[in-house]
């Protein structure tokens, strides 16, 4: 039981390469989040794994057997679609039962299973409801119940929360995490929302223009984004360029930061958001610039500093003695990392 394995998946359409040589593994019991901006190829990768799209090159294997030539309905995978794709002519019970009938479950077991799933997703007694009478959150739950009912050997979720409003999304993400945690099968969760990916996934694969650029546990990826794309995508946008001096410290327009080992010459630094504080005087490890904008945001206030045409933002406690707009300001940055270009 080794789970899902994708090797060298490539997809070309209309002269464009949408996926380039993607390889990844998902083991049973693990949830992998595919995270990336829209258009990065994550949905295409999902559809290739499902068999709904055929790759131009590459292999999809499950438990060490090549399934590349199996049509989707013979792969035994489950998928929860964006906007849910519930069958509008069937009621809730018949939607959940659909896959059970295809797998030829006997009638009494089917009924039992439908009830079991509706209980699991918190919709007991909804069997005879019509689909167009359900709220967005209820549809999402029915879609999950329908995907899980026939006991798929792999579960895929394509932006399942994207069409819901924010408060509902946060609540359902928690419930999804609990349900996914109880499954003994591999699961793939596609999203463009890093908070959702962090909350739900055991591992994260970040995709950028058709390639997987980084794979790791959520905390690992957060602590070591390694590339500027990953750092920015995770919401850490304070990337500045500078020159490494012989002592290993990097001189930037905002001041000197370091030391980071490496040869002298140009370097890109991430000024991490953790533990930044307002200080009164410049110095090593302190970013100095003009407070271009001061945006109050409740408990914390975002201060934007500019220096040498570059811009960085810091989230500071609103209680601090914040600078006024246009005044010089200094922020101590205790953690920095060098990024690959």
């Amino acid at each position: 039981m080794t789970g899902l394995s994708v090797r060298g998946a490539t997809f070309r359409a209309g002269g464009r390469e949408i996926l380039s040589d993607v390889s990844l593994d998902v083991v049973p019991g693990e949830t992998l989040a595919l995270l990336g901006p829209s258009g990065c190829g994550k949905t295409t990768l999902l559809r290739i794994i499902a068999g709904l799209e055929a790759p131009s090159a590459g292999v999809v294997a499950f438990d060490d057997r090549d399934v590349s030539n199996s049509p989707p309905h013979r792969r035994g995978f489950g998928m929860m679609f964006q906007d849910h794709a519930l069958f509008p002519h069937l009621d809730v019970g018949a939607n959940v039962e659909f896959g059970l009938k295809r797998a030829r479950w006997p009638e009494p077991r089917r009924r039992e299973r439908v009830q079991e799933l509706l209980d699991l997703v918190g919709l007991p007694g909804f069997e005879r409801r019509r689909i167009d009478r359900l709220s967005g959150g209820e549809r999402q739950r029915v879609a999950l119940a329908r995907a899980l009912a026939p006991e798929p050997r792999l579960l895929m979720l394509d932006e399942p929360l994207a069409s819901l409003d924010r408060s509902l999304r946060e609540r359902l993400a928690g419930e999804l995490r609990e349900i996914l945690g109880r499954l003994a099968i591999p699961a793939i969760y596609v999203t463009h929302d890093q908070a959702e990916a962090f909350a739900l996934a055991d591992r994260i694969a970040i995709m950028n223009s058709g390639r997987v650029t980084r794979v790791g546990r959520p905390s690992e990826v957060w602590e070591h984004p390694e590339t500027e794309f990953v750092a920015r995508f995770l919401g850490m946008g304070n990337v500045v360029s500078g020159e490494r001096e012989p002592d290993g410290w990097v001189r930037t327009a905002f001041g000197r930061f370091g030391p980071v080992a490496g040869p002298a010459g140009p370097a890109r630094l991430l000024l991490r958001p953790e533990g930044v504080t307002l200080v009164t005087a410049p110095g090593d490890g302190v970013a100095e610039g003009i407070a271009e904008a001061v945006a109050f945001g409740g408990e914390r206030t975002t201060v934007t500093l500019t220096a040498g045409g570059q811009r960085v933002e810091f989230s500071l406690p609103s209680s601090a003695e914040l600078p006024a707009r246009g005044e010089p300001a200094c922020v101590s940055v205790p953690q920095i990392q060098e990024l690959a270009q």
Binding site: R47, A50, G51, L52, E53, A54, F62, R65, V67, N69, S70, P71, P72, H73, R74, R75, G76, F77, G78, M79, F81, Q82, D83, A85, L86, F87, P88, H89, F98, G99, R102, A103, D132, R146, A147, P150, E151, R153
Partner: protein, 557 residues
Amino acid sequence: MDRSVDEKRPSLTARARERRPLLLVVPAGLLLAAFLAYPLQGILRESFQRDGGIGLLVEDTYYLERGWFTLWQATVSAALTLLLAVPLAWLLACHAFPGKRTIEAVLMVPFVLPTIVVAVAFSALVGPSGVANDLLTRIPGIEEPPIRILNTVWAILLAHVFYNVAVAGRIIATGWRGLDSRVEESAAMLGAGPAARFFLITLPALRNSLLAAASLVFLFCFTSFGVVLILGGPQFGTLETEIYRESLFLFRLPVAGALALAQLVVTFAAIVINARLQQATPQRTEARSTTPWDRKSAALGAAILALLLLLTAAPMAALVERSFHGGDGYTLRYYTMLDDNVRGQALFVAPIEAVRNSVVFALATVAVALPVGTLAAIGSVRARSTLAEALVQLPLGVSSVTLGLGFLVTMDQPPLNLRESPALVVIAHSLIAVPFVTRTVSARLRSLDPRLRDAAAMLGAGPARTFFAVEAPLLKGAIGVAAVLSFATSMGEFGATLLIARPEYPTIPVAIFRYLGQPGALNYGQALAMSTVLMAVTGSTFFLAERLVRVRTGGVS
């Protein structure tokens, strides 16, 4: 895990899997090859014969005049139709009024009526002894019937407007609903009054819809047969009636073939233009909110509605009234005589036989066109083949008399010796009905969320199972509408049937035409009675179709 991967199946590449649905288009392809391409080829060969054909056509100014008149009347008909269709579209797209759905459906009825019924209804309304003249001569001082437009071009144009105004209005209204009302609002904020907004903003934005409607009406009028033949009389021949005359009375098949070719060139051009324009029209699904009435627009709206309802209802009411109107008061005579077989009459058989023939042919047409057209729709949409879809629409470009002519010149000898067989009528009707079936079903199929199929596949349903468990239930309404449409098409088909139907198997339209050709009030009365029956049948099938559209399950956005 009990479901393992099936490795015994031959592995198909994805490309081949995508092409496979094209097999479903094969029945339609065979029908078209044998009964459209082959007859057209026959016409082509006929028209290039040494004595006559194309050569005669350009030498004789008579035919040039006919061609010119055909173009002229179709263009004028389209222009007049638009003049009324734009106000109708304004009502449909921008305003709400009580009974809107019902009124819209009532206005559509003329479009589904057989052309021969339209022609007979107009003769009942404005003919020398029609309802209008009857009423007017009761006014003291008016002795002679004052309305004398029968056998003039006005009768043709009026009938064409009657026939097409609602469908043109619907097309324009669809485009109008797609316009962003905020553009007009911002024009209003910049100081443009209602008239300026209409002419400077709305009308230019509707250009594609207007041209699409115009090209469609042009196409219908260019090949109009029943209306021209009956209302125009002998002096107003179009290409279509000329083909009919040359082939059935003068037996000059080469000339008929050459005329058919000339006609084909124009109809295909009109179809291509129409298809381009419809593609270019943006399809916005969100409904434009309706504008509230003010006193001026309400008065205008009421006037337009009254005019349109009068134009629509008067000929139909006149037809019904005259069918019960004997020389001296009201009578059921014309109806009771429908099952008499009087010797030496217009028909070889009792008129009621024609009704029976029509129903049998129509049912047979549904049985052929529905499966063939539905499969073609599924196949071409699945395989995403616009070529296959366009191919199935080809019969739309061939006028019905041309189709009949094609059958005349090719179906009387092997390999397809069907001249004696009533099946030929069913084949002709099916050929005409298949494009409508395919259009109706494929439009619905495309409106379905493609992920429903993906979802079914992920739950273990193969292509066939997916069709029967998911798509078929959602297509039920559209297939019902297609069945009703093909039934009505067959019931009303006139041009092709007139050329190919055997005397012993007349249909209702053919019988009506034969009665019209005979002198005497009794024959005319029977024509009126049969037209009324045919109007009732086709009209009620249309309302059935409207109901089907309304109740169809599961509207997916």
